[in-house]
């Protein structure tokens, strides 16, 4: 097995970190959100660790040879970062994290990339929420001081783009393997901006429901080919990306440790037998509705390598979805699976 650097989600408290690091030797680094009082994060978050807690956890990780990354990837700060008060507060927080010995900070705002690169020793990681999907954008961020760029998963299956980004910059690249958001999702920017305010310094929106998430799931239920089209990377296909990078990030900060360790195991061993849905992060609420046998997706990457992304003419993912996706149902013997078409007419 070729060595790889796996960045693994951490739910945010010491107990979780202890369980996580005692469960696997394949973790190169863990990442978690910081305090929402300063920058916040563009994803749902289950914890708000204080600086003292971050310090204790960082020391614990370092003692075990694991790097610590703090994710402060709010995609919208409402301009607060550019005010004198906002700048001073954030600068103070960066300074504290630097003093703790954090290895890297993930940010989405170009302003923070430049600020961190200029003033601190921590590695600067450009978040997927900066949507770096082209060599031109990668060059901009590298010039701002990025140490690592996490490429927008939207181009995970566009190898010409990935290779062009690789050629254009000399900084490290990281690929998020299991985010599993909708391909070309129409809600992407609005949803992350919403999360950034909900998980940021405030004022926090008092929303009734997460419209974007409901629509996201609803679109997949009505059109299950979207589950195939979303640009996840199977554990078995990591080898196809080795000429791009050896650094892979697993999404799942709101999952249980057991789930995270299963995903680490699958990606570290580049093999998984079972329902692919069990590895995907953003569709966790559908994992008991759809069964996608991972082994039956073997070879699909060869099609995706030459895919020109004109879905309405190609239809490969639609045919693949109809062939492999099954739906969980209930019969007198308990849980069973039925073919996709038998649960009703779908578009």
């Amino acid at each position: 097995m070729v060595s790889m650097k796996l960045y693994v989600p951490h739910v945010g408290h010491l107990e979780g970190l202890e369980d996580l690091l005692s469960g696997s030797d394949d973790i190169y680094a863990v990442y978690m959100a910081g305090s929402p009082d300063y920058i916040g994060t563009g994803r749902t978050n289950l914890s708000a660790p204080k600086l003292e807690e971050i310090a204790i956890q960082t020391e614990y990780a370092h003692d075990r040879g694991v790097k610590m990354e703090i994710v402060l990837n709010s995609s919208c700060m409402g301009g607060q970062q550019l005010t004198p008060e906002g700048y001073r507060t954030i600068d103070w927080y960066f300074d504290k994290l630097n003093g703790i010995g954090i290895d890297s900070i993930t940010v989405a705002d170009p302003f923070f990339v430049e600020m961190l690169a200029k003033d601190y020793d921590m590695d600067v990681v450009v978040s997927v929420l900066s949507f770096v999907d082209s060599p031109q954008k990668a060059e901009f961020y590298e010039q701002l001081g990025a140490t690592t760029i996490v490429i927008d998963p939207a181009v995970n299956r566009q190898f010409d783009k990935l290779e062009a980004i690789r050629d254009a910059v000399s900084c490290d690249l990281k690929l998020l393997v299991n985010e599993a958001c909708l391909y070309q999702c129409p809600f992407r920017y609005a949803h992350f901006n919403f999360f950034s305010h909900a998980n940021g310094p405030g004022p926090k929106p008092n929303v009734l429901d997460d419209y974007y998430y409901f629509k996201c799931l609803s679109l997949r239920i009505n059109d299950p080919q979207q589950l195939i089209k979303s640009p996840w990377i199977r554990p078995e296909d990591l080898k196809e990306y080795r000429h791009i990078t050896d650094t892979f990030k697993i999404g799942g900060r709101t999952q249980f440790i057991n789930w995270i360790l299963d995903a680490v195991d699958a990606y570290a061993n580049e093999s998984y037998e079972g329902n692919l849905m069990d590895l995907l992060d953003s569709v966790k609420d559908l994992k008991d509705n759809f069964f996608i046998p991972n082994s039956e997706l073997s070879g699909a990457i060869e099609q995706w390598k030459r895919c020109d992304k004109v879905c309405h003419k190609c239809g490969y993912c639609k045919r693949l979805a109809e062939k492999v996706i099954q739906i969980y149902s209930q019969d007198e013997d308990g849980r069973c699976t039925i073919p996709l078409g038998s649960s009703g007419d779908r578009t």
């Binding site: 739910v11 408290h13 107990e15 979780g16 289950l46 249980f256 440790i257």
Partner: protein
């Protein structure tokens, strides 16, 4: 009595017991029975006014009351937990869940009371 009549009675009784125990206005604003596609089932009781400190101080009593409540609804009290509003000490819900074999693994792999920062376990009976 019908199932919903049982639930109405159980909700009110538990709310009264908690108020009497803690001396604060705890509200149990909704009690829901659930059955999930994975095979889990149980009850969720959404709360307002209950904090993690209350739970840690009166855990023994609250565990006893919750056990009585869910047992009265014919739910096995083998896994009882509360959900916290992330990043706060506010308890969002009190829960009893009869775990399916897959979800059981999510909780059995850890050893402490907080397998995730938003979950605090009151009781977890390990299986053979």
């Amino acid at each position: 009595m019908t199932m919903t009549q049982d639930m109405l009675k159980a909700r009110g009784e538990l709310e009264n017991k908690l108020r009497e125990l803690l001396g604060i206005p705890v509200f149990l604003i909704e009690m829901d029975i659930f059955a999930l596609p994975c095979g889990c089932s149980g009850v969720t009781i959404n709360t307002r006014g209950l904090q993690l400190d209350d739970l840690e101080i009166f855990e023994e009593h609250i565990l006893k009351y919750l056990t009585e409540t869910v047992t009265s609804l014919e739910i096995d009290p083998s896994f009882l937990f509360v959900r916290l509003i992330p990043g706060t000490a506010e308890i969002a819900s009190v829960n009893a869940r009869m775990l399916c074999s897959n979800c059981y693994m999510d909780f059995s792999r850890g050893s402490g009371k907080q397998p995730r920062p938003d979950i605090y376990i009151l009781r977890f009976d390990r299986r053979e």
